[in-house]
C-alpha cells in the first residue's frame, strides 16, 4: 500500500486516478455485445436486402408455395406412393424417408460390425487382430465418397447381368440391378401379428424388470433371456398360426432375361449402405476397443477370483463399465452416419439432398430448400442426441 508523503495511508477504495468508464468490465462487456449485435443486425439486413433484389431480378418468388407445384420427375426408390404428377413437397418427404431408411439400416449394421471389429482388435488371435487393425487403418484413411463410388462403380458393376444372377438358396439374388429378396405379402388379419409382437416385447420387458426386482429381493434367479426370446418370437408365431397364416412371401423367379417378382433393393441403396456401414464400423470399432481397454484389468481379475465364468465376467462386469465410455462417442458416430448419408447425391440415391437438389435446380428456390435440409438434419441430430443422452443417463455410474 502506498504511503503518502505526509505519512498517512490512503483510505481504502480511493485511488489517485479515476478509472475511465470503459475500463469497467461491465461497461466493456456491454460495449462488446452491443458491437456484436450491431454487426449481426447489419449482416442480416444487408443479406436480406441483397436477397430481395437478387430474387426479384431472377423473378423467383420467395416462400414455400412451390412445394404444391407438380414435380414431374421420377424417383428410383419410393417408400410411399409416388407419381410424376405429385407435388414437390411429397418428393421431398420421400427423400427424407429414404434418408431415414438408409440411416436406420446403416446404424443397425454398423453397430454390429463395429462391435465385431472392436472385439477382434483385442482378440488374442494374432491373425484376427491384425486383420481388424488393417481394416480400420485402410477404411479410416480413405474418403467416404471414394468408398461409396468404389462400391457403386467397381463392386456392384462387376456383378453379373440379371440373367446370370448370383443366387443364395434360390431366395436371395444379387446382380447389377441390385439385390432381390423375397417380398412379404400381408393379407387381411396380419395386423394381429404386429399386435402380438408389440405385446410380446412389452411383456418381455415386464418379465425382465419383475425378475430383476425378485432377484434383488430374494436372490432367486429366473431364466430371463429364454423367456424374453419366447415372448418376443413366440407370440407373433402363435398369432400367425391362429389367424390362419395370412402372410406369404413372393419369391423372385429366375426368368430368361430378368428376375420376376420379389422385392429389389436398388444398387444405389446397396452401395450406399455397404459403404456407410463399412466406414462407420471402422470408427465404432476403435471406440469399442478404447471402451473395453478403459475397464481396468483388475475388474476382470476380481471377477475371476469370485469364481465367475468368463462369459459372465464379460456380461456382468466388463461390458456395463465399457458401455459408459462407449456411448457418448458412439452417439456422435451415429450422427455422423446420418449426416454422411447425404453423400448419396454422389451416386444418385434419392435421399433428401439428392431429391432436394433436383427441386432446387428446377425451381431455383435455394433458400427454402437449404433451410428445409438444415431443419431436417438438425431435427434428426437433436432427436438422436436426446435419445442417446437418455440412454447414457440410464447406464451412467450412479454415485452418491
Amino acid at each position: 500500500m502506498a504511503i503518502m508523503t505526509d505519512g498517512t495511508v490512503p483510505a481504502r477504495g480511493t485511488s489517485a486516478t479515476k478509472v475511465a468508464f470503459f475500463n469497467d468490465p461491465k461497461v466493456r462487456s456491454l460495449i462488446f455485445q452491443g458491437l456484436a449485435l450491431a454487426l449481426l443486425v447489419f449482416v442480416i439486413y444487408s443479406a436480406v436486402s441483397n436477397a430481395v433484389t437478387n430474387l426479384s431480378n431472377q423473378r423467383i418468388a420467395a416462400g414455400f408455395g412451390f412445394l404444391d407445384q407438380t414435380a414431374g420427375f421420377g424417383i428410383s426408390q419410393t417408400p410411399i406412393a409416388w407419381s410424376e404428377s405429385m407435388s414437390y413437397g411429397r418428393a421431398f418427404v420421400i427423400g427424407l424417408l429414404n434418408t431415414l431408411l438408409v440411416a436406420v439400416v446403416g446404424i443397425f449394421f454398423a453397430t454390429i460390425l463395429g462391435f465385431i471389429v472392436g472385439v477382434s482388435r483385442l482378440s488374442p488371435n494374432w491373425v484376427i487382430s491384425k486383420i481388424a487393425y488393417w481394416y480400420v487403418e485402410i477404411i479410416r484413411n480413405l474418403p467416404l465418397l471414394f468408398q461409396i463410388l468404389f462400391w457403386y462403380l467397381a463392386v456392384l458393376a462387376a456383378m453379373p447381368t440379371p440373367r446370370n444372377s448370383y443366387s443364395l438358396f434360390g431366395l436371395f439374388f444379387a446382380n447389377q440391378r441390385g439385390i432381390t429378396v423375397p417380398k412379404p405379402i400381408f393379407e387381411a388379419g396380419s395386423g394381429a401379428i404386429g399386435i402380438a409382437l408389440i405385446v410380446g416385447i412389452i411383456a418381455a420387458f415386464a418379465v425382465r424388470s419383475w425378475a430383476r426386482k425378485r432377484q434383488a429381493a430374494t436372490g432367486q434367479q429366473f431364466p430371463v433371456v429364454s423367456t424374453m426370446i419366447g415372448l418376443i418370437f413366440g407370440l407373433p408365431i402363435l398369432a400367425y398360426l391362429a389367424s390362419g397364416m395370412p402372410v406369404s412371401f413372393d419369391y423372385a423367379q429366375q426368368g430368361r432375361f430378368n428376375l420376376a417378382g420379389g422385392m429389389t433393393l436398388i444398387p444405389e441403396f446397396v452401395a450406399l449402405t455397404l459403404a456407410l456401414v463399412a466406414y462407420t464400423a471402422a470408427f465404432i470399432g476403435e471406440i469399442v476397443r478404447a471402451g473395453i481397454q478403459a475397464v481396468s484389468h483388475g475388474q476382470t481379475e476380481a471377477g475371476r477370483s469370485l469364481g465367475l465364468a468368463e462369459g459372465r465376467i464379460l456380461n456382468l462386469i466388463v461390458i456395463p463399465q465399457a458401455l459408459r465410455v462407449i456411448i457418448p462417442p458412439l452417439t456422435s458416430q451415429y450422427l455422423n452416419l446420418a449426416k454422411n448419408s447425404s453423400l448419396a447425391v454422389g451416386i444418385g440415391y434419392p435421399d433428401m439432398v439428392s431429391v432436394g437438389g433436383t427441386i432446387l435446380n428446377q425451381t431455383g428456390q435455394a433458400i427454402e430448400i437449404i433451410a428445409m435440409w438444415m431443419g431436417c438434419y438438425l431435427t434428426i441430430s437433436i432427436v438422436t442426441s436426446i435419445f442417446m443422452n437418455w440412454y447414457n443417463a440410464r447406464i451412467a455410474l450412479v454415485e452418491r
Binding site: 488374442p124 462403380l153 437438389g357 438434419y377
Partner: protein
C-alpha cells in the same frame, strides 16, 4: 555313528551352485510356442486363424496381382490394356494413369504454367517440413512464413496477376487495422490520462502507410510484373484437393479460436451467437454447407464471388466450427490456476489468452488439429458434387474418355486415387500419433 573303514570322501553331497534351469518345453517357446499361444490356442481359434489368413491372403494377393503382376506398364491407348489385344488377362492399366497424370494432378491448369504449381508445392514442403519436425529451431519465424507469407505467395503463383499488389493489399489492411486500433487506444488513453503522443504518432503513421498502399494498388502502378491469370475453374485434381484442405484448415484456426473463446465467454450475447453458429454447422452435413455456399451465398451478396472462393468459404466455416470444439477441449484442459495466475499478474484478457492460455491449449490440441486436417482432406472429395474437379472428380472424368475405355480402366483409377489418398492420410495419422506421444512424455509415469 562312525564307520571305521569309511572313505575320506564326504558322506553327503551338497551342490555349491544353483542348478541351471531346465529349458521350457519346446511347445511353449520359439515360433511353435508363439503359434500355439497366438494362433491355435483352441479349435475355434485355429479355425478363425485359418479362415482369416485365407481371406487376408486372397485380398492382398488380388491387390498385388492386379496392381503389379498382371499390370500393363506401357502403352499409347486402350489397345494396350485389352485382354484380346494383349493376349492375356490384364491387370492395372498404368498407361492410363501416365496419360491422365497431368489431369489428376493439375486439372485443366495450362500446360506452360504448371511449373507455378510445382514451385508452390516445393515452397510448401520446404516451409512445412521444418515446422513439423520438433527439433528444428526458429519455429516462430517458420510459422509466420508458412501461415503469413506463404498464402500470399501461393496466391501469386497459382492465380497469377500482379505479383506485388497482393502483398500491398495485405500490408495495407494490416496497417489500416493497426492504425485504427492505435487511434482508438489513444482516445481511450485520453479519458484516463494515460495517453502518450507516441501512440498517436504510430497510429497516424500506420494509417497513412495503409492508405498509401491502397492508393498504390488502385493506381495500377504495380500491375506490371505479373503472371498470366489462371482462372480457378481451370484448376483441378490433387491441386484443388490440397488447396481446399490447406485453406480450410488454416482459416479454421482463427475461426475456431474465436468461436471457442466466444463459447466460453461470460457475455451472454457473444456466447449465444458462438453456440448457435457451432451447433448449427455441426448439426448439418458438409454437403448442405457447400450447397449453402454455392447457391445461397450469391443471393446474399451484391456480387457473386468466384465458385472456388464460395467453396472455400463454406469449407472454412464448416471446419472452423469443428475446430472450435477441438480448441475448447484444449482450453478446458488448462487448469484454472493458469487463468488466476495471469489475472493476479494484472494481465488483461488478450494478454492472458495470448501469452498464457492459448499457447498451452493449442499445444495440447495439435493431434486434434492434425486429425481435423485428415478429416478435411478426405471431405474435400465433396467439392466434386458442386462441380469443382478435385482428384476424385478428375478420376471420374478420366473414366469417360473413350480413348482409354477398357474393362480395367475403372479399377486402375480407383487403385491410383486410393493409393494417393491412403498415403496422405496414413502419413498424417502417424504424425498425429507421434506428436501425441511426444506431448504425453510429461504426463507419463
Amino acid at each position: 555313528m562312525t564307520m571305521p573303514n569309511a572313505p575320506t570322501a564326504p558322506v553327503s553331497f551338497t551342490r555349491g551352485e544353483i542348478l541351471q534351469a531346465a529349458p521350457p518345453p519346446a511347445s511353449l517357446v520359439g515360433p511353435i510356442g508363439w503359434m500355439r499361444a497366438n494362433l491355435f490356442s483352441s479349435p475355434l481359434q485355429a479355425l478363425l486363424t485359418v479362415v482369416g489368413a485365407y481371406i487376408a491372403y486372397k485380398l492382398v494377393w488380388t491387390f498385388v496381382d492386379f496392381t503389379i503382376i498382371r499390370a500393363v506398364w506401357t502403352g499409347a491407348d486402350r489397345d494396350a490394356c485389352l485382354d484380346e489385344k494383349v493376349g492375356r488377362s490384364v491387370g492395372a492399366c498404368w498407361p492410363f494413369v501416365w496419360a491422365k497424370f497431368g489431369q489428376f494432378m493439375y486439372g485443366f491448369y495450362p500446360l506452360d504454367s504448371r511449373w507455378r504449381v510445382d514451385l508452390t508445392g516445393i515452397v510448401a514442403i520446404v516451409l512445412l517440413v521444418p515446422l513439423l519436425i520438433p527439433s528444428v529451431p526458429h519455429k516462430a519465424l517458420n510459422a509466420v512464413l508458412f501461415f503469413g507469407a506463404f498464402p500470399i505467395l501461393a496466391f501469386n503463383l497459382l492465380y497469377g496477376g500482379s505479383i506485388i499488389n497482393p502483398w500491398l493489399v495485405v500490408l495495407g489492411w494490416i496497417a489500416i487495422v493497426a492504425g485504427i486500433g492505435l487511434l482508438v487506444a489513444y482516445l481511450m488513453g485520453r479519458a484516463d490520462g494515460s495517453a502518450s503522443d507516441a501512440i498517436l504518432k504510430y497510429g497516424a503513421g500506420a494509417l497513412a502507410v495503409g492508405v498509401a498502399a491502397m492508393v498504390l494498388v488502385r493506381s495500377g502502378m504495380f500491375a506490371a510484373p505479373a503472371l498470366p491469370v489462371v482462372e480457378t475453374r481451370q484448376w483441378g485434381g490433387l491441386l484443388v484437393t490440397l488447396v481446399v484442405a490447406t485453406v480450410g484448415i488454416v482459416a479454421a484456426l482463427p475461426i475456431g479460436v474465436a468461436l471457442a473463446l466466444g463459447r466460453r465467454s461470460k457475455m451472454p450475447i457473444i456466447r449465444f451467437l458462438s453456440v448457435a453458429i457451432i451447433e448449427l454447422v455441426r448439426g448439418v452435413p458438409l454437403i448442405t454447407v457447400l450447397f449453402f455456399a454455392t447457391y445461397m451465398l450469391p443471393l446474399f451478396l451484391e456480387r457473386s464471388p468466384d465458385a472456388m472462393v464460395r467453396v472455400l468459404v463454406g469449407v472454412s466455416v464448416f471446419s472452423g466450427a469443428y475446430m472450435a470444439e477441438t480448441i475448447r477441449g484444449g482450453l478446458q484442459a488448462i487448469p484454472k490456476g493458469q487463468f488466476e495466475g495471469a489475472m493476479a499478474l494484472g494481465l488483461n484478457y488478450p494478454r492472458m489468452m495470448g501469452l498464457i492460455v492459448m499457447p498451452q491449449a493449442l499445444k495440447l490440441v495439435i493431434p486434434g488439429i492434425v486429425n481435423a486436417f485428415i478429416g478435411l482432406f478426405k471431405d474435400t472429395t465433396l467439392v466434386s458434387i458442386v462441380a469443382i474437379f478435385d482428384l476424385l472428380g478428375g478420376m471420374r472424368a478420366g473414366f469417360t474418355d473413350p480413348q482409354w475405355a477398357s474393362p480395367v480402366t475403372l479399377y486402375t483409377g480407383f487403385a491410383f486415387a486410393g493409393i494417393i489418398y491412403f498415403a496422405f492420410c496414413y502419413f498424417m495419422s502417424r504424425y498425429s500419433i507421434f506428436v501425441e506421444n511426444r506431448l504425453n512424455t510429461g504426463r507419463r509415469r
